[in-house]
Structure formats: structure tokens, C-alpha cells
Amino acid sequence: MSERARRPGLSTAPSAATFAIDLSDVWLNFHLNFYKRRVTLRGAALSGLTSLIAGRRRSAGHQVFWALRGINLRIDHGESVGIIGPNGAGKSTLLRAMAGIYTPDKGVVRTDGNISTLLSLSAGFDLRRPGRENIFKNGILLGMTRSQIEERVDAIVEMADLGQFIDAPVATYSAGMRTRLGFSVAASVDPDIMLIDEVVNAGDARFRKRVGSIFDQLAGRQGTVVFVTHSTNLVKEYCSRAVWLEEGVIRMDGPAGEIVDAYLGELNGERRR
């Protein structure tokens, strides 16, 4: 991973690297035991002891779920890519791996340029605090300085179309309002790469139009967009390319229209059967 990719900063123009995001043979797992029941130190000590006596390295019932299984994907500067697939296909995991939030258990993720993320409806906001404070919170975490945010805060509020609500706690916002705020902060970083997970749908038509123009601007300066969605219309509208993910493997990858048609074709085929 390049130095710049590890340290999101501002206005680092894409360099000479030929790709924006490059995943080679990426595998990523979740140890289900950490979710099923809370793992305790007591339990770990006991099972460690038993497996020591029994001479096994790993206690039985240790379950591992592979969410990504050998992903090879290269996305160039200026591309906008939609990721589609059924629930549980690994779409969100893939996006988090690209963002560097999840480190792959096998394989390499390389990125070029600074990354901005909007991965959930809550956008990591502190719901009890007002919108304005959350702009600063997310802005700082995304790599902006306080003074940079101060310069941009009016533009962010304007773009999110929140008016007086900006000083009300985020808990009082509707899903659409949260999405607009999250997206506006994420876009204000002037990212080279934007990773967005299934949230644009929550905005209204007016906001979707703005999203479209932000994506166009981004593409105009060779920026990259990757977004996950169940709305195949949005993929056709915004993306030049689509990736169809299923059970942690890339099923198809190609021009957006073609892939969406194939995906919908199979869904309809299943329905008819």
C-alpha cells in the first residue's frame, strides 16, 4: 500500500500509478465465535488449556466465515463502478477492504489517492450532537484540519440542504437528511476515491441529481467512485462499469448495462422457475 493511501490527506492529485484501486487475490474472514457468544478471557484460558492437553492447536467449533474469497479487481482513475449482488455477497466487506478499514487476511489491497467513505446511513455520526458538530467530527476523521472545515462548512450545509436543522441533534434527522449530510461531508474532502455503500437511495430526486453532478465533477478530474447498491437503475445512471459479487467471489465484471441485464435476467429467471 502506498504511503499516501495509508494516510488520507487533502488535495493529493492522483499520481502516475495506473490504477486507483487494485485488489489482488484478496481473502477476508470473520471469526464467528466473536459474534455468536461473547468471547471471554476465562473461556480463552480454559480452551487454551484443554487444547494444550489434547495437543490440538485450535479448539473444535472454531468457525471461520470467508466473506471475500480471492477477489482480483483493478479499478482505474476516473472510473465509476457499481457493485451489485444479493444480500450477504460481501459487497460491504469489499468496500471496507478498499477503504482500508478491514485488512485482508490474505492478498493485497493497494490504493492511490485520498479516500473518502460513506458506508452507513448513520455515517458514524454521534446522534446526540448537532449536525454542525458532526461535520467537524467526520471532517477531522476524514483528514481535514479544523480551519479547512471552517472554510467549507457553509458549502456543506448548503449542499446537504439542511437549513436551520444543522444545529439540531442528528437523532432528529430523517434518513434522507442524514444521508445528505454524510454525503456532503464525504464529498467536501475533494477525494480522489469515493466509496459509498447503499445510501444514495435514501435521498430524494433533487439530492440524487446533486449526487450525479458531484460524481461527474469527480470523473472530470479523474476521480474514482465505487458504490454498492441494490438499485440497478442507479448503477445504470451513474456507472460505466459494474461488478456482480456473489458469495465472496466476482461472478461477472464489465460494462454497467450488460452486467445489470445479466443480473436482472437471472433474478427474473429464478422468479419464473
Binding site: R7, R38, I101, T117, S120, L141, T145, R146
Partner: protein, 266 residues
């Protein structure tokens, strides 16, 4: 590991954000606000004075300042470690949303707790006068000792923050463990009590074992300037510094190694 430190430094705005978050939750939400940082040590000193000055033992006044310094130092360790154990889980939504150096979280906990610690020392100065100890030139060594302890506390907080991501019962274990650690350190009794007991048993090895507790060194280093108006023994300062460096290096090592897995399980 050096890269982790460098990254934390470059992203110090993130650390500052979390420090102000911790301080807000500790103080701003309360009626008396930041005054609590000063009131809190005064109140618990009142309790210790009642117990050790009147009820169970009539200790001399300068012993009170020994207790006070011991308690604020231990509270610094205690609160950092227990808050560190839950800090990653408490920020789980943010961790899953945006990539940032996670080491900023335990660091911010320690910095916020340094604030309380320094407030405690501000109270210690008038209190020393009250208990008949005059602050003197030897007190100038205190900031150095506090810095050593801060490094020490950071190391242990990194460890609890790391363990806290993966193991749910850490808070219970920590609660008992820290209490035991507190009573095994010379806070509510002077170290001479331990020395006397061991002399009677005629087993000098026991004192070596007692001195394995790094907090003994930290507390004894504070003790000399504060209670006896002299510079601390080099051996205690060295013991504190070495354990601080070992704890910090170990803490940073285990935390950095697991950092990539943390987002999955918080």
C-alpha cells in the same frame, strides 16, 4: 511501530477530537463542569482523612499527603486502563465508517486522564501546606516523574484497549486486578511497613519480589520530594523509567499487530 507513532502524530487532530470528547463526557455534562476535576480529589481526600486520620488510625498529617499523591497517581492508572478497555467498542460506529489510526483512541484516553491527574497535583500544593509539608525545590522533579508515569500508563492502556476489543469480560477482570494492584502498592501504608514485616520474617527475597511491582517504583519516586523534601533515589526513578519503556513498547506492539483485525470485531 514507529510508523504507528508517526501516523498518530500526523493525525493529531483526530486525537484532539477524542480528547475533547472524553473531557466533555466527564465534565461538561455535569452541573459544576470542570470544577469537578478539582473537587473530586478534594472529596476523596476528605474520606481518606476521616478514615486514616480519625476512625481506624491516627496517622500523622504528612502521611495524608503520602496517601493523596498515591491515590491520584493510582487513579490516573486505574481510570486510563478501565476506560481504555471500552474505548474502541464505544467508537465502533466510527471505526466501521472511516479509516483513521485506531491508536488515537487509547492515546486520547490517557491524555484526557492526564488532565484529571494534573488537576489533582494542583490540589496537592495547598494540601501539602495544610498537612505541614512545604513544597520545595525538589518538587521541580515532579513533572519528569509524571511524564514517566504517563508513558507507563499509556503502555498499560494500549494493552487493555487491545484486549477489550476481543474479550468481553475484561472489565470484570480489570476491576478485581486493579484493586489488588492498588493494595499491593504502598498507597494506604508506607513502604516501611512492608520492610518491617519482611525483616521480621528474615526473608530478604520477599522485598525483591515486592519491588517487581513497577508502581512501587513510581510511587516511591513521588514520595521523596513530596513527603521528605528530597530528590528521589535514582534506583526508583530508573525502575519507573525502565518499566515505563517496557510497558509502552509491549503495549504498542500488541496493539499495532492487531489493529487490522479490530474493525471487524468492535
Amino acid at each position: 511501530m514507529l510508523a504507528t507513532i508517526r501516523e498518530a502524530w500526523l493525525r493529531r487532530a483526530v486525537i484532539a477530537h477524542f480528547v475533547s470528547l472524553h473531557l466533555t463526557t466527564s465534565y461538561r455534562t455535569k452541573a459544576l463542569g470542570f470544577l469537578w476535576a478539582l473537587l473530586d480529589p478534594l472529596l476523596f481526600m476528605g474520606v481518606y482523612y476521616l478514615v486514616f486520620g480519625y476512625l481506624i488510625a491516627q496517622r500523622p498529617p504528612e502521611f495524608m499527603i503520602h496517601i493523596f499523591v498515591g491515590v491520584i497517581s493510582f487513579r490516573f492508572l486505574n481510570r486510563s486502563m478501565s476506560q481504555g478497555a471500552s474505548v474502541l467498542r464505544s467508537q465502533s460506529a466510527t471505526i466501521k465508517e472511516i479509516k483513521f489510526p485506531k491508536v488515537a483512541l487509547p492515546f486520547s484516553v490517557v491524555i484526557a486522564r492526564i488532565f484529571d491527574f494534573v488537576a489533582g497535583w494542583i490540589i496537592a500544593i495547598p494540601l501539602a501546606f495544610v498537612f505541614g509539608v512545604e513544597p520545595n525545590a525538589a518538587w521541580l522533579v515532579l513533572p519528569v516523574l509524571m511524564l514517566i508515569q504517563a508513558v507507563f500508563v499509556t503502555g498499560f492502556t494500549l494493552i487493555t484497549a487491545y484486549v477489550g476489543v476481543f474479550f468481553a469480560d475484561i472489565e470484570n477482570i480489570l476491576d478485581v486486578g486493579l484493586r489488588l494492584w492498588f493494595y499491593l502498592s504502598p498507597v494506604l501504608y508506607p513502604i516501611s511497613v512492608v520492610q518491617d514485616k519482611i525483616d521480621k520474617l528474615d526473608q530478604p527475597i520477599l522485598m525483591q519480589i515486592y519491588l517487581l511491582n513497577p508502581m512501587v517504583h513510581v510511587l516511591q519516586a513521588y514520595e521523596a520530594p513530596v513527603v521528605e523534601s528530597r530528590l528521589p533515589d535514582a534506583s526508583f526513578v530508573l525502575g519507573a523509567a525502565v518499566s515505563a519503556l517496557v510497558a509502552f513498547t509491549l503495549g504498542l506492539f500488541v496493539f499495532t499487530r492487531a489493529e487490522g483485525q479490530m474493525a471487524k470485531y468492535v
